[in-house]
Amino acid sequence: MSTTREFILNGQARRLDAGICVARLLEELGYAGKRVAVEKNGEIVPKSRHAATLIEAGNRIEIVVAVGGG
C-alpha cells in the first residue's frame, strides 16, 4: 500500500500533510488574510470554517481569486 498521500489543489497533485486544515494551507501558500474562496470536493468552504475544515487524501480543493475581466 502506497504511503504517499496526496490531494488535488487547483488541478495539480499536492502532497498531503497530516491534519492540515484549509486555513493552514492558505497560510502555507501565502494567502492568509487575502480575499479568496475555497471549494472542497465541489462545495464551498466558508471563511468561518477554514480552520475547522481538514483536507483529506483525494480531496479536490479549488482556491479562486478575483482577476481582471470584462
Binding site: I44, P46, V64, V65, A66, G68, G69
Partner: protein, 261 residues
C-alpha cells in the same frame, strides 16, 4: 443631471458607464482608465489562484478596493448554467456575501455568443439563491423579457460580439427591449468607440458596459474620458427629447421671407 441616477437593485449610481477590468497593460493602467471613465461599477473574473505566483504582489482588490468600487463578478468562459452558478457562488463567498453579479453563459468559443437556454436556467437558479443578477443576453426581445420575469435586476443585451468593437448592429431590437423592459437595460459587449456608447444612450438605454473599447484603444485613458462624456451626452440628448427624423425634412431654420432678389 445629479437627480438622474442609475438605479440597480435599489442602489443609486451617478455613473451610467460600467467598465471591465480585463485586457489592460497592468494594474496601474487598469486603475487609471477606470478612474478616467468615472465608472463606479466594475466587472471582474473569478479564476484559480496562481500557486507559483508571489503572494506579495498586489491583487486587483487591493488596487481597486471593494469599498470604493461596486464589484460585478462575471462568469466569463462559462458554457453551462452549472459552471456559471458555481462561479458566482464562489464570487459571493470571496466578496463576503456581495451578491450583485453579472451572468453570462456562452454558447460558442468563436463568437462568444450567449447560450440563451443555459442563461435562462442559470438565471432562475441564481435568483432563487438570492443573487441580484445583471444578465448578458442576446438582443432578442422575448429572451430579454423572460430574463426580467425570472427576476433579473437588469438585462444587458449585446450591441455586437464581445470584443468585436462593431457597435450596435441592431438598434431596432434594442429599442424593442428598452420599450418593453421594467428593469434597467444596459448595452453590454461590442461597443467600439464613443459614438457607439452615445447611440446606446440615445436609444434610451440606462447604461453601457464595456471593456475592450477602452483597454484596446491606442490611448486607453483618453478613450475612457471620451466614453464618460459620450455616455453623459447620449443620456442628456435622450432626456432632452430629439427632433423627429423626416425623410423629406426640407425645413429651413432661417426665415423664408425678406429674401433679396
Amino acid at each position: 443631471m445629479s437627480n438622474d441616477k442609475l438605479i440597480i437593485a435599489g442602489q443609486a449610481y451617478t455613473s451610467r458607464l460600467l467598465v471591465g477590468t480585463g485586457k489592460y497593460r497592468d494594474f496601474d493602467e487598469t486603475k487609471r482608465a477606470i478612474d478616467a471613465s468615472g465608472a463606479q461599477i466594475v466587472t471582474v473574473a473569478i479564476r484559480r489562484m496562481n500557486i507559483g505566483q508571489d503572494p506579495g504582489q498586489p491583487s486587483l482588490l487591493e488596487v481597486l478596493p471593494p469599498s470604493q468600487y461596486t464589484y460585478l463578478p462575471n462568469t466569463a468562459m462559462c458554457y453551462t448554467a452549472e459552471d456559471a452558478v458555481r462561479t458566482l457562488r464562489l464570487a459571493r463567498e470571496l466578496l463576503d456575501g456581495h451578491d450583485l453579479v453579472k451572468l453570462e453563459v456562452l454558447g460558442d468559443p468563436n463568437t462568444l455568443f450567449p447560450h440563451m437556454p443555459e442563461t435562462l436556467k442559470a438565471a432562475e437558479i441564481l435568483v432563487r439563491d438570492g443573487f441580484k443578477v445583471m444578465v448578458y443576453c442576446s438582443d432578442d426581445p422575448i429572451q430579454a423579457k423572460l430574463l426580467e420575469e425570472i427576476g433579473c435586476v437588469a438585462v444587458m443585451p449585446l450591441a455586437s460580439l464581445i470584443g468585436s468593437g462593431m457597435g450596435i448592429l441592431n438598434p431596432w431590437n434594442l429599442k424593442l427591449i428598452i420599450d418593453n423592459a421594467k428593469v434597467p437595460v444596459l448595452v453590454d459587449a461590442g461597443v467600439g468607440t464613443a459614438s457607439d456608447a452615445a447611440i446606446a444612450m440615445e436609444l434610451g438605454c440606462d447604461g453601457v458596459l464595456m471593456n475592450t473599447a477602452i483597454a484596446l484603444a491606442r490611448d486607453p485613458l483618453m478613450m475612457a474620458g471620451a466614453m464618460k462624456k459620450a455616455v453623459e451626452a447620449g443620456r442628456e440628448a435622450w432626456l432632452a427629447g430629439r427632433m423627429p427624423k423626416k425623410l423629406y425634412a426640407a425645413s429651413p431654420s432661417s426665415p423664408t421671407t425678406g429674401l433679396i432678389s
